[in-house]
């Protein structure tokens, strides 16, 4: 639980949560955490507890909303769903990430090429 790892994940985790909710509709905290783990192929070593800080952050920004409901196995849980503002934010952030990863990929490739010559 070193701080550097959490800091690194922070922005990313918010984006993952938004995307998950956009794709899957209304979900509770555990569901979101599991979903992210599954999609990442357990590559993200997530302390599931950290998801709640991310959720409250997104909620305060008005990107997701929450309400108490009942799960499929009849348990009370808080269900989160993405809002209109959240979708807008998601498309912006996703585009940004894609651009960034694209640029990063090109830059890294360039450096390897330069090293070979």
């Amino acid at each position: 639980m070193s701080h550097s790892k959490l800091d690194l994940l922070q922005g990313t985790l918010d984006l993952m949560v938004l995307q998950t909710l956009a794709a899957m509709g209304s979900m509770h905290g555990y569901g979101i955490a599991r979903r992210i783990e599954q999609v990442s192929g357990d590559a993200v070593l997530l302390n599931q507890g950290t998801i709640y800080a991310s959720l409250v952050r997104l909620q305060q920004r008005g990107w997701i909303s929450a309400e108490w409901g009942t799960s499929s196995n009849n348990r009370r849980a808080k269900f989160y769903s993405i809002t209109k503002r959240g979708r807008k934010q998601l498309s912006e952030d996703a585009a940004y990430w894609q651009r960034l990863t694209g640029v990063m990929g090109r830059v890294l490739a360039l450096q390897e090429g330069a090293g070979d010559e």
Binding site: M1, L6, H28, G29, Y30, G31, A33, R34, N47, Q48, G49, T50, Y52, A53, S54, V56, R57, Q60, R61, G62, S71, N73, R75, R76, A77, K78
Partner: protein, 884 residues
Amino acid sequence: MDWLRQFLQRFYSFFRSAQLDRELEAEMSAHLQFATEENLQRGMSLAEARRQALVQFGGPQQSKEQHREARGFPFLESLLQDLRFALRVLRKSPGFTAVAILTLMLGIGVNTALFTIVHGVLLNPLPFPRPDLLVSLWEENVIDAFAYNPVSGGVFADWQKEARSFEQMALIGEDTANLSGDGGALPESIGIRQCSYNLFLLLGVQPARGRFFTQEDDRPGAMPTTVLTNGLWKRRYGSDPSIVGNTILLDGQKFAVIGVLPKWFDYPDKRVQLWVPVRLVVSETDMQNRGNHRFFVTARLKDGISVAQASSELDEIQERNHAQFPNELMGKNARALLLSENLVRDVKQSLYLLMGAVLCVLLIACLNVANLLMARATARRREIAVRSALGGSRWRIVQEQVTESLLLTLAGGAFGAFLAWITLRWLLSLQENLPRADSIHVDGTALGFTLAVTVFCGVFAGLLPAVAATRNELFGSLKEDSRTTSGGRSRARLRKVLLTAEVALSVVLLIGGGLLLRSFTQLRSVNLGCRTDKVLTMGFTLPESRYATEVRRAEFFAELLRRARAVPGVSHASIVSVLPGAGHFVDNTFDIEGAPPLAPGQFRNAVIRGADPDYFVAMHIPLKRGRIYSEADHRAVDDNGMVITESMAKEFFPGENPIGKRLAIDWERKPRFEIVGVVGDVLSKLDSPPEPTLYLPLNSGRLEYGSLVVMTDSGHDVTALALPLQKQIAAIDPDLAVSDVLTMGERIGNSTEPAKFDAVLVLLFAVLGLVLAAVGLYGLLSYLVTERTNEIGLRMALGAQRFEVTRMLLLEGLQPTATGLALGVFGGGICAQLIRGLLFGVRPLEVSIFAAVAMVVLMVAGAACAYPAWRAARVDPMTALRYE
């Protein structure tokens, strides 16, 4: 808008903390349930399913903490928490809290008070436009090279003609006058100043009423005009606006009041009551005379010219003119000094000394509080270790301690501000002649200073123990059980370092205070060379308008002496121009008949006094040789006898008999006065060696001012003579005012007041510092004894004697004392060199004082350590070994 929304959300969350926590709790338990169920479906046992769920979740406490941080104001929350905690802790130990707050109150209070004075006097700019261009100009004394000699009218005229650095220059001359003649108010002797008409213009002052002088007013034969200070206007004329345009009587002469100065104007000091144009009252010959040094020059630099440039230009001019007129009594050098610097020339060193002393006190106070906090941190070290182990961040723990110490210092600062206010009033009442005292106020800057000092103390005193407490000690403290014998050693070491610093600072203060006190007592015990007990003095000035001739003045003197001697209780009455110890005042050049002429630029010069012949007997000034000049006729104005002092005989007639020599004094072409006797030396200043002095008969000395001195026999109270004597003076001349009715003892007391002020304050601070250090020492040793009860018990069980235990602990306590003492003596030696200008009759490295300080410190430290050490020896080995 996003930040606003978030802020509101956080704000909302902040106040719904409890409910949000409950919701989070429910959400998290649901989460764990989901996870456990899923794990069960995968075929795990219930226990394993639970465990895995928890592992996947991570630390629930940390998650909660993260949640809170994300939703509210984490900083504010922890601050509130810390505050609550600190308040609780402080309430639980009222003794500690009281000592800490008291300590800080003292440190912060005296600092604020001193800073307020330093700020008002030294740092505040003068209340004139562009004060950075205002300078004071000085001529160097040609005889003793004293750098700040008043300027003569002729030299001023030279400067005004030749110097290019200045926009304008103005003259100020000092005088006193009898103010009288307005509707039955008593006559009074007031301090007045003569100035050239452009002075107020140069300073940039506007009149509060009426107008200031013009060139028309400032010439010989102009209609007499005067400008009143606001203080005089209010005091004597009840702020009556109709006084402008009316006339008042100065020395019996009518002066038209043309204006009143603004209230804040107290330049050059607040004793000045009114101003008159200089050329109106000083003759044109005097204004051209290069040898009569009587004026103070204030000037305004041209913008862009530095003080140094102006100073060197002035110096060149002076050097040139000195070479051109070698026989004029004028300085070879001259200088310009910033006006603000000039005003505080005499008090600067003393103020910086006191500021340094109070900073030492503050530092000691801080160290002491740090020490106390450290003791407390020690008691709580296991709690801190446990918290660190449970994930409390180090920063958080440090923050908590700093909060606590800030709380203490803020309380100390609040009380300190109040103390500062009281201290300030006390200090100002002690030091009445402080220049610019009117600009001293507890204002925003002073309070800002208090706050800054407070926060500094809080952070300093809190950070030190906090950092020490959290440093790498996690495992050490956890492992450390109650049976340890070496526990807290490193912390005790840090406390010893703090104490060493405290002791060292106290020693520096004690040495400074000791040296200053010795200077003061030396000054007080200086033998003036004359009688000082049962002597009453009062000053007077004979206005020229009514006492224009020597005969007229001689009549007054004779009448005054006759009446004074007739007052019951008076054993002697005499008149002298300047009293012993009252200052240098006036000197003149002279030639000795028959002596070879001096080289150009060389002068024979002596302090000059007028006295009636009875003065020497009355004041117990011994006659060493010859006789006193004649007593035959008090009204005679042609007595040519003269008496000189021993130091004058030694300087000008070495190995010769001076009796019978004839002298021509300054204003005379032909030798007139003949030396008839030699008397003992009298000091004109307490802290200077005797100056060669000559006494002229009262009536021959061109004397228009003087002091009446009366003595009484034992059994009488000399102060009781004041009123009857003043009545006698009023009977001779009802318009003549009397000033400074004081006994000789009071005069000496007044002149040593600044020295006393410094000595008393520094010593006071030193004692304060020493007490604080002693308290710290006592605390440290008590702590060590408690800490080592176990070890002591063990030692005693193994056969150690009680006295050995006592000695061991005493040495433990005296070790920081000894180190601090050594450092303090070293530092004190350096400080003594820095303040040598304030010392009199004592060498900066006076061994006896250093030794006395060392003795006192060792004794106080010994006393502080004695009780804990004694208690250690009373430890019962059996109880100690069982002690947890």
